[in-house]
Symmetry: C2
Subunit: 479 residues, 2 copies
């Protein structure tokens, strides 16, 4: 089955191939430049054109998602060269597939007319997905060009808040009635000639369009033709309201192994279809965001974005980090007199801070995961705090003890070893609490619990570790 | 549509309800203990039993995934009470749904016979998913009890390496032939009376069972009945080999919006079906693992695991962290003479280390994400290194400059300000490189690039920051 194999591994192959040809061409261009006669140059030019023509044909035969993959993984000049040769009929589909950062990039390279033409090959749901990212001044003309029915769908879709089921669903109210036989449904579908792709159920509605249940296609196909829809359908299917949170819907899709689910408005009327592909994209994007946002990277960063743009994207949180580090530095500054007397403290204090920071970040990762899975109810949070501080206490005892022994061996000072032990124990216990409280606090403030939380936790545990260690040293070691 | 609404939000409601009743019961038990007469006690006992009976009926009406959710979010005593009342016919499905840590927990509470009975209500694919987690000594008896065909399926499934398509697929070779009309397919399906659920296509095979293409169900349902399967099928469908990597399959599902895809063996013969639900579980688990593994948490930790178990789970990486912190401490120890002369260095040095650590972790998060998305080819890696060090250089200039001004204002020492600037610039540049190299190195060593990488990067940048800052100070500030 070589054909299927190439399909599944296509994008990386295509990317390597394109990189190869574009790379070879620049080498050949150099060679051609150096070659003697104008005749040689002409030959090279012809060869180049031939290769390029074949390359563009190959690119345009790829699945739009694969073209998107290729574009995302090419540096800017090569990305632009490829994008200009993508046929206009693929433009819309490719724009929908690329990451936000690369989309902005591609749109920058298109003129007004090209942007307007993008929508020709998209359906209204897809247009609605794309509109928020288009240049503001193009949108009015674009809406004017749409058929009235499409315009209405796009406008409704735009009215749903981000992260709601409404914003992810497809507007499709293909549905059947409960009081007909399966054979009638089959005949109706044949006459109709179309059905949403990638669904395994058909919604069943009453005469007012109110959802009654869903009929599984496998039942439609395998049960006797004279059975009524009413006797074959699921009467308590998982369905969503347009206003439900997409994250909750994602949990339901995962729990109940759904392929697609009907979506209703406040009157219970069927208005659309939420498909697993939209949910999968949402889950993936959300988890990637969690990973990046912990270190303060909000935007999905284009791997080939200009350096200054990347630097700016990361600068904000580095600035916050500088502030927390500065606070920690002032904590130490306050104890300069102590360090002057016992300079070994300067070498030992970062150990307390580092292990404290790590402990805090371990708790943090677990709590963020718990929030993402919807596991942390208010009553569970209290229990979690208790448990995490207990874990911090146990680890503080074990590793604080280890470090106390190391300190004793290194400096031969039992007092300093005791201070080290006590400081580790206290810091690790409080660091665990900080790791649990920080995301909870961010959530309470209406922020994403993951966003920048690692920086906040590390900043806090640094100051705390220095303060506890140097404070104990000041109280017990210096006379 | 209240019925659909409750379905989608069920698990948290059920959990709160169960917590409520179990909570109230312990309060009432206390009150009953305190009450005067034995008659009161009896009354309370009866009331308790009634409430409990209703509760267990409610629990057993939940979807197995919801029972799993409830169990995961109950502390150990209450979890055990609920688990003992779950009807045996749900046991298998619930065990399949819970997290690894909770599964081990539940299996501990079951005797040998109960474990054996679990498989009665599971099909062979599900048994294969469960077997690796069952107590070793039960497995032989369990395999003996299976029907020969089931046993074979379980054995083949067990032979697939973890993370392969084979390990995620369902064994199902329901397929149709290309040379028949759609009406014949419809009649055949009715006679057969069953079809895998949650699929939107039927595989098409030749007489040797070799995959020829797939027929979309929407085409089967909407095209004229005398059309041949051959004229309606997709001839180049996305299909996988049993040995393909599950991560690659997940990318393909996302790119091509698949619901299910046929799986073939090395001869191209259809052997099974990979469904989006298995892929979704895999993606979710992998991204959760990334989040946790960066801070060295390998195991999916049970939120209610005993404290000592959690402490041990985290202790290993805390120990590594202690080692890296100890190295950083020895770097400082080497410069104790310098700090003795200029004690302000002790206060300033953690700033360099902290901002360096954060810079390294930002690059790290981007690189881990790039690996997860399959974006980092060897040629892209070189480019990435260049870009990341440039970003580190730019941010080092900006924030190093800021800190130099702050140092000047605070200590009035231009030499110290210059050392601060140079140290920030160098540390941030090298920290970016460390953030890019660490996951690449872990990958080269055959490790998960995310696992513990944050701890390694932070450890390295700490030592580096201290060394650069104190080294520059020793060279230029001390005479």
């Amino acid at each position: 089955m070589p054909s299927t194999q190439t399909h599944a591994t296509k994008p990386t192959d295509a990317l390597d191939h394109i990189r190869g040809i574009l790379g070879r061409q620049s080498v050949e261009r150099e060679l051609a430049g150096r070659s003697a006669g104008p005749r040689h140059e002409l030959q090279h030019e012809l060869l180049l054109r031939q290769q390029k023509g074949a390359l563009w044909r190959e690119v345009n035969q790829l699945h739009p998602a694969d073209i998107a993959f290729v574009l995302e993984n090419l540096p800017l000049t090569e990305r632009r060269a490829v994008w200009e040769e993508v046929e206009p009929r693929h433009n819309g589909a490719v724009l929908l597939e690329v990451s936000d950062a690369v989309r902005a990039n591609l749109l920058d390279w298109m003129d007004r007319q090209e942007v307007l033409d993008v929508t020709t090959h998209l359906d209204s749901d897809e247009i609605a997905d794309l509109v928020p990212d288009l240049p503001q001044d193009v949108v009015p003309s674009l809406m004017e060009r749409l058929a009235p029915a499409d315009r209405q769908v796009v406008q409704s879709a735009l009215s749903f808040p981000e992260g709601s089921v409404g914003s992810l669903m497809e507007f499709d109210a293909t549905a059947i009635r409960a009081d007909v036989a399966l054979d009638v449904v089959l005949r109706w579908l044949r006459r109709r000639g179309s059905l949403p792709t990638g669904v395994a159920t058909l919604p069943v509605v009453d005469r007012d369009g109110v959802l009654q249940g869903v009929l599984r296609l496998d039942r439609l196909l395998t049960r006797p033709g004279d059975t009524l829809v009413a006797d074959s359908m699921d009467r308590d299917p998982v369905a969503f309201h347009i206003g439900d949170r997409a994250a909750d819907a994602a949990h339901a899709f995962e729990r109940y192994d759904l392929i697609a689910a009907p979506v209703t408005n406040i009157h219970g009327t069927l208005v659309g279809l939420l498909k697993v592909e939209a949910v999968l994209d949402h889950v993936k994007a959300a988890s990637q965001r969690d990973l990046l946002s912990q270190v303060g990277l909000r935007e999905e960063e284009d791997l080939f974005a200009p350096v200054w743009k990347s630097a700016r994207n990361r600068g904000l949180w580095l600035a916050l980090n500088l502030v927390t580090a500065f606070i920690a530095s002032r904590v130490i500054g306050h104890f300069e007199g102590v360090i002057e007397q016992i300079v070994a403290l300067a070498a030992l204090m970062p150990i307390v801070a580092a292990v404290g920071g790590n402990t805090g970040n371990q708790t943090l990762a677990l709590v963020i995961r718990g929030y993402a899975l919807g596991q942390i109810a208010p009553s569970a949070f209290r229990r979690l705090l208790l448990k995490e501080s207990a874990v911090g206490f146990v680890n503080g005892t074990v590793w604080g003890g280890t470090m106390a022994v190391a300190t004793l061996l290194l400096y031969g000072d039992p007092g300093m070893a005791l201070v080290m032990f006590a400081a580790m124990l206290l810091t690790l216990t409080f660091a665990s609490l900080a790791g649990a409280f920080t995301p909870a606090l961010l959530r309470r403030l209406g922020q994403d619990p993951a966003y920048g939380s690692a920086i906040l936790v590390t900043g806090f545990t640094d100051s705390l570790g220095f303060f506890i260690f140097l404070g104990l040293a000041a109280a017990f070691l210096v006379r």
